[in-house]
Assembly symmetry: C2
């Protein structure tokens, strides 16, 4: 029974790590689709989300089973309950990558973002890819020192999101209202992506320490 | 032990019902703040969110304890695990009410929305209030027939959100880019509010039937 249990717990972790990798691919691919107005890549992100949702479902079912059959306590209990929460965070991060991809599809064959914002969105995509990569490592290693690194990427996403408002509201913005709404929403998707990653990291800290991690 | 257990399960439900009521007040108050540019009401929503977050934390802790000590199975297990998920949905709905209130605070003493959109946002606020009211009833009664009613309100929110795009992108929109972004974001908060309510309702159906409820 005990061995089964350890196997089940590591199965939860494996699922979460696999989800992190898939979400990493999703956000990187969505960003490439956005920067190159690539419909094929956008569709790939949209259909690929099904695999992420399936693992989410499997992780949840597995956590249910462990809780019912093993009655875990202390750290193991936090792992099981935290597993469900982390899985939810990753699933939502996948959804945000899909939101970006759907925006590309909506505007295709027109570009989704004006060329002068390519650098900004490339930087957002880079920070988002990095933050989920670190999230995967945090889940895998339980090394909570990595969380500070994640916060740095999250700060980058917040800063870029704020800067973008300045750009679309300046007099030099010539792309009209629709494009302004588009880029603000897209930027918000990246910003939210970072928030979910940080919330996931906080969950790992809670699992390891038993203490909730401060919000700021 | 058994009696304790039943008490604990109904404590989870009581927490969720109380959260629904608080979230209902939050979204109604946020809407009033938005329609009347009322900073005091906006602040009330922002500080009031703490109470919602506390119940969320309590419900989660309680579900942890039940799972560990009682090893529930079948419907009871789904109630416990589902309790955590529903609590998360309600907490996020509270956050969305806060997002609306913060937007009011950001623009104060200026109006947050142009007067010709008052009717639209009043209707959104009404649908959002109704959907969370129904959510509370669904949690309380487990009457899954109410879910169809919730979907109707969610459809209203989706429709109003779509219509609003048409308004801000029309030639008759004279309020500029910033106002267009503002109302689009605000509208999105209501639309997301509805989505979370429906996701909560799906969770109840799963608890009652053991079968996942279709996404569409």
């Amino acid at each position: 029974m005990r061995e089964d249990y350890t196997n089940q717990l590591s199965e939860v972790n494996d699922g979460l790590i696999k989800m992190s990798a898939l979400v990493g691919t999703a956000i990187a691919t969505a960003t490439t689709a956005l920067l190159h107005d690539d419909l094929g890549l956008a569709e790939q992100v949209i259909t690929g989300d099904e695999a992420i949702n399936e693992i989410n479902h499997d992780v949840e079912e597995l956590c249910f089973r462990i809780a019912a059959l093993q009655a875990p306590v202390a750290t193991d209990l936090r792992t099981v309950m935290g597993g469900i929460r982390m899985s939810t965070s990753l699933e939502r991060m996948g959804d945000l990558a899909v939101h970006i991809a759907k925006q590309v599809r909506l505007r295709y064959p027109n570009p989704s973002i004006p060329s002068e914002l390519h650098a900004t969105f490339a930087e957002m995509g880079e920070a988002a890819s990095k933050i989920v990569e670190e999230a995967g490592k945090v889940i895998d290693t339980r090394d909570t020192d990595l969380v500070e690194k994640m916060r740095k990427y999250d700060d980058t996403l917040d800063r870029l999101h704020r800067e973008l408002f300045t750009v679309v509201l300046s007099d030099s913005w010539t792309h009209g209202v629709e494009a302004a709404i588009d880029v603000t929403l897209l930027s918000r998707f990246y910003e939210r992506f970072g928030d979910h990653a940080v919330s996931l990291a906080r969950r790992v800290i809670y699992i390891v320490t038993g203490e909730p991690y401060a919000n700021n």
